[in-house]
Amino acid sequence: MLVLTRRVNETIIIDGKIKVTVVAIEDDKIRIGIDAPPEVGIVREELLNAVRDENKAAARTALVPGDLPKNFLSRPGKDRGDRTDM
């Protein structure tokens, strides 16, 4: 791993097109700004790991289609985006 030291407002340029700037530092947190072309995907590692874990669980779904109660179709959930564990 390449390790570089940066101060606030200092930037690293990756591959000539991705700019990573330290925006702010407070306590044990740093805020990072990223300028990248639209085709570059940017995601926090823990979020990607949560998706990976959920996919592993989802791929084990052994449900046969007949198990899906059809009466659920007329009863949409009331959930409006409440947070649950990732």
Binding site: E54, N55, A58, A59, T61, D67, P69, F72, D79
Partner: protein
């Protein structure tokens, strides 16, 4: 071609049925080809079956039926990657997890919708940054 699956037996699909996921999906990066397997009489759900692995299939749900306020913004880069030209070609589906096979406790992953361009037969599971969504939204409130 005939595709063996552990859930549905051998399924006959044509070349037009093959959906390419150039990146695979997270945790299954090696699986690049899938097809959609509908569920009779239940249009809210559909299976996404991996062609190369009979055991891997994801139950997908139409998230807009269960989460009316749900929003997915497909960024320009992803539109290019999936060669999206018409909004009508795009399917946005959420991966369902059924804990311990208990349908009443099933959850949908709203933070990483599966985006499919039916016209170009390209797909990707898109992990959205900066939303309030999580990987586990209950589809049904427990009335018990």
């Amino acid at each position: 071609m005939k595709v063996p699956t552990s859930r549905f037996g051998v399924i006959e699909i044509g070349p037009a049925d093959v959906l390419n996921f150039p990146e695979g999906v997270p945790a299954f990066e090696q699986l690049r080809e899938f097809f959609l397997h509908p569920i009779p009489d239940n249009p809210a759900f559909i299976w996404l079956q991996a062609i190369a692995d009979p055991d891997v299939a994801f139950l997908l749900v139409d998230p807009f039926l269960f989460f009316p306020g749900y929003e997915v913004e497909i960024p320009e880069g992803l539109q290019q990657e999936l060669k999206i030209k018409e909004a009508a070609d795009v399917l946005v589906l959420a991966v369902v997890t059924v804990p311990d096979g208990d349908v009443r406790r099933m959850t949908a992953n709203l933070v990483a919708p599966v985006i499919i361009n039916r016209a170009a037969r390209l797909g990707r599971q898109y992990v959205m940054e900066g939303t309030k969504y999580t990987t586990r939204h209950p589809l049904f409130r427990d009335k018990g």
